[in-house]
Symmetry: C2
Subunit: 197 residues, 2 copies
Amino acid sequence: MARTGRRPGNQDTREAILAAARTAFAERGFDGASIRQIASTAGVDPALVHHYFGAKDQLFLATMNAPIDPGELLPPVFEPGIDGVGERLVRAFLGIWDSPAGTPVVALVRSAMQHDWSARMLREFLVSQILRRAARALDLDPAEAPKRAALVASQMIGIGILRYILKLEPLASMPPEEVVSNVAPTIQRYLADPLPG
Amino acid sequence: MARTGRRPGNQDTREAILAAARTAFAERGFDGASIRQIASTAGVDPALVHHYFGAKDQLFLATMNAPIDPGELLPPVFEPGIDGVGERLVRAFLGIWDSPAGTPVVALVRSAMQHDWSARMLREFLVSQILRRAARALDLDPAEAPKRAALVASQMIGIGILRYILKLEPLASMPPEEVVSNVAPTIQRYLADPLPG
């Protein structure tokens, strides 16, 4: 990729790009924000944005200080197909919350409960980085995919909040595999069974 | 009930009782806090606490400014028995969030994500006011009841957060009865089916 930035590559430039990107994503959402417009706001060439941050997905993750990259974590969950996806998803999710990346994830969720801006960023993150990947990888009917994804998200975020933030027992200290065996059938139903209504 | 308070009944006395109760519930939990000790901290007779606030349940709800009284709302959900309880519970829950009481409930959940004190109060509220009532009314096996209740709470709080705080579509604008038909089978399974693990 050509390095054609009008301004020299330095920390200030990176920060200027991130600041422009945060505003753009918060105001227009993931789909509405464009690299060209972010570069223009930051006073740099679009190629420099690509050079520093890669594609729009990566720039978005950088603006959120996202501690995980769903592009790396999700393929092993979804690519084996619909059979057993509930189990793999719950296990992967608990693996993240239980790892060092769990702390910033908790901070992100807490912040989203408090500030509309954070709520919007978290919503965009869920939709653009997780739910769409799931829909594509599992080849879900596009008419149903957003509903299935939202139902899955509701169960997963509820587990995260009760287990790691409110620390409700016995969920807070339940062995991960017991959480998996209790919750996986719910996720499997939301993703694979016929939806009512 | 005899009115034997050592101090005259007035706004200051009520506030003193509430302040002592908040501290007691936050430090010792619902079960550990006693009316006698709360009265002593507030410098009043225990009978005065009963006179102003009724039983410990009501005093607890008063300290939280709880916008709902589970003692009134839950019997119609649980008393008809285990059949259809998932559907009745989801419908009642959406009815609260969609009503004027929904706004303070959202504020309560938001606050619990932010402050350990609020998180503890919300946890005590869930356990003492909702989950135990459900276990009693449905005659759940005491060895399994806390786990079933925590799983139900995880799904319900997740729906509340995605629908009313993060406003994730299509869940945010889904007709209540469609939420009921999608989520009720999950609640029914958590309450009534054999648990794995």
